[in-house]
C-alpha cells in the first residue's frame, strides 16, 4: 500500500523525498497510473456489474457520457434503464432517487456540481438523512449523491462553493472526500455498498490527475473503510489535516518545509463525517501542532470542528494555537488574481506551519 512504501522511504533518506507519483513508480513493481476520472468510472462500472439494484441518475450521465466523462461508456454497457438522463430538475430527481432507495434500490445520483445540490437539499437532509432515525430503523436509505464540489477554475461565485461543512454537520449522512485514485475507487465502492445516505464530494480539478494504483486497488473487491483518515506523509513536528485537492497542496507544502527542517505529517481526512478524530488526535499528541486546511468558507468550517475536537481531547498536548487555512471569507471572484487570493495556496500552508512552530526548535533539525 502507498503508506507503507513511503514510511520505508522516509527511514532511508529524509532529504530525497520526491513527489508520491514518481517515487512509487520506481519502487512498486505493480504500480499502474490511473486518473481519478478512470478510478471513479471503473468503480461505478464494477458496482453496477456486481449489484443489479445499483443505477445511475443525473443530468447528462447517459448519452453525453457524463458532463465530466465520469460515466463514460456506462449507458452503452448497462442500458437506459440503469443509466438515466434526467431533466434539469434537481429537487424532482433527487426526491425520486430517495424514493427508489426507500423501496430497496441503490441509486447513485450525480449532481453536475454540488452547487446544484442546494435545489435538492431538502431531500438529502429531510428525506434521506433523517429517515432511518425517524422510523426507528424501518427506512434505511442506501443512496449515494456524488459530483464535483468546491472551486474549479474561473467559474465564479455560484459554481465554486464547498459543501463539506454543511453536509457533514447533519447526523444520518456520511460525507466522503476522495483525493487520489485509490481514494476515489475505494471510497466510491464503499459508498455504494453502504446502507446509509452518502454525500460523495469529488473535485473537478482532480479528475484529470494521475496517481499510482496497486493491483490491490485495481481489484473489483477493493474497498476502503468509511470513517478512517489516511496518513499520507508521516512526520514529527506538525500535523496538517486536509481533504480533496488540498491534500496535494499540503504534500507540496511538506516538501518545502522539509528544506527548513520542519517534518510535517499530512493527514488525508477521506471522511468528513464520520470524522476520524482518533487519528487526528493521535497525530497531534505526537507532533503537538496542528494546521487544518480546507478550500471552503472558514466560518463554521471543517477546520473549526477539527480544532474544537483537538482542544477538547488533546489540549495539554498543544504547543501552539491551532491554525486554520481556508478559502477566503468572500464569494468566489472571477478575475484570476482575485481567485488566487480566494483559495488556499501552498505558501499559505507553509506560512501557517512556520507560525505554529515558532516557539521551539523543530525536532527534525537534530537528525
Amino acid at each position: 500500500m502507498l503508506g507503507v512504501v513511503r514510511k520505508k522511504m522516509l527511514g532511508q533518506s529524509l532529504l530525497k523525498i520526491r513527489p508520491a507519483v514518481s517515487m512509487l513508480r520506481s519502487y512498486s513493481s505493480a504500480a499502474k497510473q490511473m486518473t481519478v476520472r478512470d478510478a471513479l468510472n471503473s468503480a461505478l462500472d464494477e458496482e453496477m456489474s456486481a449489484d443489479q439494484k445499483v443505477f445511475l441518475m443525473g443530468e447528462e450521465v447517459g448519452e453525453y457520457q457524463g458532463a465530466y466523462k465520469i460515466s463514460k461508456g456506462l449507458l452503452e454497457k448497462y442500458g437506459p434503464e440503469r443509466v438515466l438522463d434526467t431533466p434539469i430538475t434537481e429537487a424532482g430527481f433527487a426526491g425520486i432517487a430517495v424514493g427508489a432507495a426507500y423501496h430497496g434500490l441503490k441509486p447513485v445520483v450525480e449532481f453536475m456540481t454540488f452547487n446544484f445540490s442546494m435545489q435538492a437539499i431538502d431531500h438529502i437532509i429531510n428525506s434521506a438523512a433523517k429517515s432511518n432515525y425517524m422510523s426507528a430503523g424501518q427506512m434505511s436509505v442506501p443512496i449515494v449523491f456524488r459530483g464535483p464540489n468546491g472551486a474549479a477554475a474561473g467559474v465564479g461565485a455560484q459554481h465554486s462553493q464547498c459543501y463539506a461543512a454543511w453536509y457533514a454537520s447533519c447526523p444520518g449522512l456520511k460525507v466522503l472526500t476522495p483525493y487520489s485514485s485509490e481514494d476515489a475507487r475505494g471510497l466510491l465502492k464503499a459508498a455504494i455498498r453502504d446502507p446509509d445516505p452518502v454525500v460523495f464530494l469529488e473535485n473537478e480539478l482532480l479528475y484529470g490527475e494521475s496517481f499510482s494504483v496497486s493491483d490491490e486497488v485495481l481489484d473489483s473487491s477493493f474497498c476502503l473503510p468509511i470513517g478512517k483518515a489516511k496518513i499520507e506523509r508521516v512526520g514529527r513536528d506538525v500535523t496538517i489535516t486536509a481533504f480533496s485537492k488540498m491534500v496535494g497542496h499540503a504534500l507540496k507544502a511538506a516538501e518545502i518545509l522539509e528544506k527548513d527542517g520542519i517534518d510535517a505529517e499530512v493527514i488525508n481526512l477521506r471522511s468528513i463525517r464520520p470524522l476520524d478524530r482518533s487519528t487526528i488526535n493521535a497525530s497531534v499528541r505526537k507532533t503537538n501542532r496542528l494546521i487544518t486546511v480546507e478550500e471552503g468558507f472558514p466560518q463554521h468550517g471543517v477546520g473549526a470542528e477539527i480544532c474544537a475536537s483537538v482542544v477538547e481531547e488533546s489540549f495539554a498536548y498543544l504547543d501552539a494555537p491551532v491554525e486554520r487555512i481556508a478559502g477566503a471569507d468572500v464569494p468566489m471572484p472571477y478575475a484570476a488574481n482575485l481567485e488566487r487570493l480566494a483559495v488556499p495556496q501552498v505558501e499559505d500552508i507553509v506560512r501557517a506551519v512556520k507560525r505554529a512552530c515558532y516557539r521551539s526548535v523543530p525536532l527534525a533539525a537534530a537528525a
Binding site: 443505477f55 434503464e81 438515466l84 434526467t86 431533466p87 430538475t89 429537487a91 424532482g92 430527481f93 433527487a94 426526491g95 425520486i96 432517487a97 430517495v98 424514493g99 427508489a100 432507495a101 426507500y102 423501496h103 430497496g104 434500490l105 431538502d122 431531500h123 429531510n126 428525506s127 429517515s131 432511518n132 432515525y133 425517524m134 422510523s135 426507528a136 430503523g137 424501518q138 427506512m139 434505511s140 442506501p142 447526523p171 444520518g172 456520511k174 453502504d194 446502507p195 446509509d196 473503510p225 468509511i226 470513517g227 464520520p274 478524530r277 477538547e312
Partner: protein, 394 residues
Amino acid sequence: MALSYLRSSSSRSVNLLKPLSSSLPLRRPISTDTTPITVETSVPFTSHQCDAPSRSVETNPKELLTFFRDMALMRRMEIAADSLYKAKLIRGFCHLYDGQEAVAVGMEAAVTKKDCIITAYRDHCTFIGRGGTLLEVFAELMGRQAGCSKGKGGSMHFYKKDSNFYGGHGIVGAQVPLGCGLAFAQKYSKDETVTFALYGDGAANQGQLFEALNISALWDLPAILVCENNHYGMGTAEWRAAKSPAYYKRGDYVPGLKVDGMDALAVKQACKFAKEHALKNGPIILEMDTYRYHGHSMSDPGSTYRTRDEISGVRQERDPIERIRKLILSHDLATEKELKDIEKEVRKEVDDTITQAKESPMPEPSELFTNVYAKGLGVESFGADRKEVRATLP
C-alpha cells in the same frame, strides 16, 4: 338512481338481524356475505384526458360493513387523539383526518399491500388502513416505546414498510417525488404494482410535484398522484392559493379524474381505475373532493377562515360514515342498533388501547443514539455535553 341488488337468502338475513346475546364475544363478527351489490356513486366522475370509469360500483355486504367499522374506528381514533392532545399527552404537531376517512378505506379496497402508499403528515388513518394497529398509533403519538416508530418519530412520521406504507412526511410536497421514486423502483423490479402518492391542495402548487410528474410521464412510471383536496391549505382556501384549483387538470398532458372523496365506493372505483391505467400508461392524477372537520392541526380552531355553518353543512350532507350507514340500512344488511353497537365496540376498543398505550414506557435514554445510521461503523456520537454523554453508534 337505480339500485339493484340480490336479496341475501332469508337464513342469512335472519342471522344478521338476530339480537346480540350476552354470550357472544365482544367483537361482533362482520358479515362474511360477499353477494355482489351494485351501487351508484353520489356524482359521476369528471375526467381530464381520459374516459371516466362507470358510476356503478360493485360491492358486497362484507365490504360495506368493513367500510363502516374501519371508518368508525378511524373517526373515533382521531377524536380521541384530540382529547389526548388537549390533555397534553400528545405534544408538538397533531394533524387530524376526521372527515377524510373515505379516501383511506376506499383506496385500500382497490389495492393490495404490495402497492405502495405515501402521504404527508395527516397520516394516522392511512397508517391504520395499511394494517397499522391502534396501539402503535396512540403509543407513537404519546412518544412511547410501543409506537410504530418507537416514539422517535411522532405524529408526522408513521411508517409500515412491511405493508409498503412509506410515511409520514413533514415537508409539504416532498412526498410526491418520493412516491414517484417508489413507482420507479416498482417498474425497475417489474413488480406490476403501483404507488399512490397523496398530497393536499396546499401541496399541489409545489414545483417539485411538477418536476416529479414530468419525469414520471417521460419514464412511464406507475405513479398515481392523489390530491386530497379538503379545500384549505392550512388557513388558505384553494381559490386564494391556486390560480387553477382544478387539481385533476393540472397535470396537463397527464390524465386526471375528479372524485367525490366523501364516497368510499367512488374512491374505490377511482383507485381501481387508476391502478389499471398506471400499469399500462404511466402517471394519472386523482383529485379527491374531501373535507376535514378539524382545523389544519390541533393549534388551529379551523374557524377563522371558514364558517361553522360550512363545517356542519358538510357533516350533515356528505359525511362518509353516514353515507355508508344509510347504504347498509337501505339494503337491510344490518339494523340501526347493530351499527350503533359496532360504534360502541369501536369506542371501547379505542379507550382500552389508550389505557394500554399509556402503560408503554418512554424510550430508554440510550435510544437517543440508535438508528442514526443503518450501519454505524462504531462511530462516536455526542450528547449536549460531550464530555458527559457519548455513545458509540450501533
